[in-house]
């Protein structure tokens, strides 16, 4: 499959067409068609490439394509002397990136189709601009997942950051939207700093930036289980990068604010592109991470804490999109937990299933917002089930999936993560299960408040202007005054239905062995998370031969993965028990939500009043934004002011002082000039004047006087000549 590089190029072409021509001259419809066509073509090509990939033998599933040399060989210092630093435009299709391109192009295409209807009320040029950005987003994301070295990945990595900025700030006239865009971009830049430091360190260490070469080289190195060595630092830096892109503590703050963008953008950022980049990158460097167990611990802890914290915030939010945003942060936390406990395929699997149901939920919420003419506050919704049955049905499926009800997709992926967390660390498992309870609760709270109960929104005639809705982007929906909530048009419901099917069946690829399933996806993805087999074996031989004591003392996580099939740590009955338990937890969450928000809504009011303190803490998102404001942002401002003061007083002072010195010295110089130099000149003149006054007396003009003097002179000389000689 030599043409995998076309997969990112197609959306890139769409972005170029819409950006260069479309904004000026395309109609809304043309712009949408161009963008959707390009994404559809990319999807078709991806499916074909994936089908070809499946045709290869299991341990040789990879296509490497280099289309051009980007950076020619430059001598650069590495650990092993001067190496030739070179970067090709190289693309690699292997099981992990294969799965990713299907997610990006598949869900991306559906979101593009959805956007054609959702954005129908925008100004004409704005629609083309929007589709240009969407296509560009997919282009960079595909570059990110298909690149075969860190630098090509970095191109995509930066590109999705740029596109998130452009899209979150799409309604740039709105202050909050442009602020949110800046926040996303700046937060991401902090993460990018970590990522690029990691890449520098990798080149310094291995002398190459090719993923495969780095993984193979790392596989032969000892596991840094006791000391915090170079590999650990590399992984730590890469993980900092991942926290920025994938919204983990401490850099998750941008993601909830990203809700300022149009809803399809939220869906795209949360499901198909952007936030999955960090998870993907950690998975891509799985071998590095397995050699740095301490960083794995950090990853797992950060992941599970993020999951818990975000889920708890999600419990009390009223903005429908914000609930989903915190839900995404929480689910990403799960993925990192999985990565941290060494369950890379489980994390990637959850990434895929999450992409389906989260895209579904976001597009569904977009449909609701569309129906409510821009209203996002769930307190003004309710009872929408009868007005928009398709949206309700599909969102309900998505909710069941994210809550982890079998046999929907979320169950299998989440349960795999919980099981692996249980194997690795019970404390992490406990927090993860608590998060699962909260997930089920807040998702059913969302569904209950939106679709069930009585309608609480504005009356039909009073239309959309009743409350200043934060997402009030159009007012009328192209058909005059608002006629009450209504089902969305087909281009919006079709993606919902397609994604609902995905949310149902996506889990079937990962039925675990405990349920007599083949766990297809794990076996499929496994080659991407290990070094090439002969190198991995050699690495294990080195590790186990006792040459390096610490490596031999503790078994590598990699060997755990390998040995697990032969002798599972936890028996099958325990695994089944855990599954049952997590289903019970999910049902409990659903039951609680039903009790609080459907059968007896007064309980939730009472609880909120009874626990006012914690409720306020959660409503204000643990005051993290305020904390960052008070520390980092104020610190930056103070630093800026300090630098300004330094500039004002020290630098300007030096300049002014230099000027002042010049003035002083010039004054002295002038004084010297006036007195000494002019004095000398005047003295000469004065001497000439005074001298001439006396000598003038000699010039009588009387020739006889002269003659007399001459005679006396001659007489004197003759006398001297004759007598004195």
């Amino acid at each position: 499959m030599k043409y995998i590089w076309l997969i990112p190029i197609l959306p890139g072409l769409g972005a170029a067409i819409n950006g260069l021509i479309g904004i000026r001259s395309f109609s809304r419809k043309t712009a949408g068609v161009v963008a959707c066509t390009m994404m559809g073509a990319a999807l078709a090509l991806s499916l074909f490439a994936f089908w070809q990939l499946l045709g290869l033998p299991a341990d040789a599933r990879a296509y490497d394509v280099v289309i051009a040399q980007w950076i020619p060989s430059i001598p650069l210092m590495t650990q092993h002397g001067v190496g030739g630093f070179q970067v090709p435009w190289g693309f690699r299709l292997d099981p992990l990136s294969g799965m990713m391109i299907l997610v990006v192009t598949g869900i991306g295409t559906l979101i593009h189709v959805y956007s054609t209807a959702y954005m129908a009320d925008e100004p004409r040029g704005g629609v083309a601009r929007f589709f240009c950005y969407l296509n560009l987003f997919c282009f960079f994301m595909l570059m990110l997942v298909l690149g075969n070295n860190f630098v090509v990945m970095f191109v995509g990595w930066e590109g999705v950051g740029l596109c998130s900025y452009l899209l979150i700030g799409y309604w740039y006239e709105k202050k909050s939207a442009s602020d949110a865009g800046k926040k996303a971009f700046i937060t991401n830049r902090i993460g990018d700093w970590g990522f690029i430091l990691g890449v520098f360190l990798i080149y310094q260490m291995f002398g190459t930036l090719d993923f495969r070469a780095v993984q193979n080289a790392a596989a032969t190195m000892p596991v840094e289980s006791v000391h915090f060595g170079v590999l650990s630092f590399i992984c730590l830096f890469l993980f900092i990068g991942a926290t920025g892109k994938s919204a983990q503590i401490p850099l998750y703050v941008w993601l909830p604010d990203a809700m300022e963008g149009p809803t399809p953008v939220s869906a795209l950022i949360h499901a198909a592109t952007m936030v999955t980049a960090g998870v993907y990158m950690v998975g891509r460097n799985a071998v590095l991470f397995t050699h740095a167990p301490m960083v794995m611990q950090i990853v797992a802890i950060v992941g599970v804490l993020t999951a818990f914290m975000a889920a708890s915030i999600g419990l009390v939010q009223y903005d429908i999109k914000r609930v989903l945003a915190y839900s995404t942060v929480s689910q990403l936390g799960y993925m990192f937990t999985a990565m941290g406990v060494g369950a890379f395929s489980a994390g990637a699997f959850h990434l895929m299933t999450h992409a389906f149901f989260k895209a579904l939920l976001f597009l569904g919420s977009g449909s609701v917002i569309h129906a409510m003419a821009g209203e996002q506050d769930m307190r003004y919704m309710g009872g929408l089930r009868k007005y928009m049955p398709v949206t309700f049905a599909t969102m309900f499926i998505g909710t069941l999936a994210i809550a982890g009800i079998p046999p929907l997709s979320g169950f299998f992926s989440k349960d795999e993560i919980l099981f692996r967390a249980f194997e690795s660390n019970k404390a992490i498992w406990v927090i993860a299960v608590a998060t699962a309870l909260m997930t089920a609760f807040y998702m059913f709270r969302l569904v209950s408040m939106t679709f069930l109960g009585a309608y609480r929104g504005p009356a039909w005639e009073s239309a959309g202007a009743a409350h200043g809705a934060p997402d009030d982007h159009g007012g009328g929906h192209g058909h005059g005054a608002w006629h009450g909530p209504h089902e969305s048009p087909t281009p919006m419901t079709f993606p919902l239905m397609a994604l609902a099917v995905g949310a149902v069946v996506a889990g079937l690829f990962g039925i675990p062995a405990a349920l007599n399933g083949p766990n297809t996806i794990e076996h499929f993805l496994e080659p991407s998370f290990t070094a090439e087999s002969h190198i991995a074996d050699r690495g294990m031989r080195i590790a186990e031969s006792g040459g390096i004591a610490e490596a031999a003392a503790i078994r590598t996580p990699q060997s755990e993965v390998r040995n697990e099939e032969a002798e599972p740590h936890v028996s099958r009955s325990v695994e089944l028990g855990l599954m049952g338990f997590s289903v019970l937890i999910a049902l409990a969450g659903i039951g609680l939500a039903r009790k609080f928000y459907v059968t007896s809504p007064e309980i939730s009011q009472g609880l909120a009043e009874q626990w006012a303190g914690p409720h306020r803490l959660l409503s204000n998102k643990y005051y993290v934004d305020e904390l960052y404001d008070a520390t980092v942002i104020s610190g930056t401002y103070a630093g800026g002011r300090g630098l300004w003061a330094f500039d004002r007083h020290v630098v300007d002072g030096a300049v002014n002082g230099a000027g002042w010195l010049t003035v002083i010295s010039a004054w002295f110089s002038g004084l010297t000039d006036r007195t000494v130099v002019d004095g000398l000149v005047n003295l000469v003149g004065r001497i000439a004047q005074e001298g001439s006054y006396w000598f003038r007396r000699l010039q009588t003009g009387l020739v006889q006087t002269y003659a007399l003097v001459m005679v006396f002179g001659v007489f004197a000389f003759v006398t001297i000549y004759l007598f004195v000689r």
Binding site: G701, V703, Q704, A707, V711
Partner: protein, 101 residues
Amino acid sequence: MPITTTHYILLSAALFTIGVVGVMVRRNIIIIFMSIELILNAVNINLIAFSQQLQNGIGQVFAIFVIAVAAAEAAVGLGIILAFYRNKETVNIDEMNVMRS
């Protein structure tokens, strides 16, 4: 008593002295002019006397030159004096100060 070179020299010195004093003390430009002639002739006597003593003709030739130059000088000088007299009606040297600024 034979006339020796010494006598000539003394005569010449006397003539020269008379000429110089005449140049210095008189105010009449014509007298001064005549005194200058005396000085020149004193020089001539001197030249002739030493020419005689040294038995060398060059001194006599030189005297002839001096006489010729003195004649030319007399012609120019008398012309100037004549022109001056026509302007100023005087030959007093104290009045000859037209070039004084």
